[in-house]
Subunit: 183 residues, 2 copies
DNA sequence: TACAATTTTCAATAATTACTGAAAATACAA
DNA sequence: TTGTATTTTCAGTAATTATTGAAAATTGTA
């Protein structure tokens, strides 16, 4: 690996964490490298800096693009594809949340919706279905809430988070709003 | 697999999704089975219903317990270990969020904190470190915000989510609170 | 068009992770 | 204690996933 010590540490860490986040080691490394790179990189530069095969980089880029975590750019007078990560970390955060939701939450919500349409065949299934309904309602609620929050601008979202210890107070106000349906 | 159709569908789905959520297929299946079960199950009952080996169940239970997603209980006059999932879906949600944070976020936060203490050796590292700082600040902010929300009771949390479209309005109020430091 | 540069695909294989059966360990009861 | 029920461990194997090199496909240029 052809990187300065600080950068190598960062890249290796993302490689290791990759598996916990649902991507393989090399994809994690590629993303990390692009994230800290001051300029877009082409595939050969990635090969050179990370010491993996050209084909591996090609597949990794495809995966990262499917997550919308990197975008392809082109430099004047250069045929090669260059890649960069979005600059704004808030944007990255939101993209990641969106994709995770689409891949990890939606399929389950969909299954639960289906399952709730079934007529339970016996007492055992009746109980199971009741549990599925509890899960469905929670996931749907959290999911809808996420949609709302997700629509906020980065600045608003940042403000919301910076609220910190004030969240409790906001909720007092929230309860008032809830009572006021046509507001 | 020795389950009624509705239940089998649910169990199989959780098995498939397991890999996206960071556990293997059998662990996903065991959890799903326990979630919909009207009473605690012992290891042999799980073996019988899911058709996997006894040792696999044993390892699966250990993993699920490490996630705090199942707890062991005992029945009067029965030496065997029984397992059940917490009943309250909100509690499950919070536990999951806590564990995910501990396993997926904290290690990265820790690496970033370390990396930011280093003195960059050159311009390349200086830029990389600036990017790491952006990431660090975002993760720390989101993480602290999560702590706050996490402390709320299930009811309050539910109310917060049900707010839905009112979130924007709450934020108007939030901004006022922010200006009022000693409130 | 023909050529060169570049990217993608894919079959082979390497590496990792999951699963099992058998043996060992543990916990309890007589 | 000793014996029995139960759980855990772990080495071997199966299954899955990741990685590579070589070939094919694509893209742009002369």
């Amino acid at each position: 690996m052809n990187l300065s010590p600080l950068n190598e540490r960062f890249v290796l860490h993302f490689g290791e964490m990759g598996s916990r986040w649902g991507v393989n080691r090399t994809v994690g490394q590629i993303y990390a490298l692009l994230f800290i790179s001051p300029k877009p990189l082409n595939a050969d530069e990635i090969v050179e800096q990370l010491g993996m095969s050209r084909s591996n980089v090609s597949m990794g880029m495809k995966e990262l693009q499917s997550w919308r975590l990197v975008k392809m750019v082109h430099l004047a007078g250069d045929r090669r594809d260059y890649f960069e990560t979005p600059k704004d970390v808030w944007e990255i955060f939101r993209t990641l949340a969106e994709e995770k939701r689409r891949r990890e939450i939606e399929p389950t919500l969909s299954l639960l919706r289906d399952a709730l349409l079934d007529t339970p065949a016996n007492e055992n299934e009746r109980h199971a279905q009741a549990r599925m309904r509890e899960m469905h309602d929670l996931v749907e609620l959290a999911s809808g809430w996420f949609d709302e929050v997700h629509r906020l601008s980065p600045e608003t979202l940042e403000n919301l988070m910076k609220l910190g210890a004030k969240v409790q107070k906001v909720l007092g106000f929230a309860d008032k709003l809830r009572g006021n349906k046509d507001d």
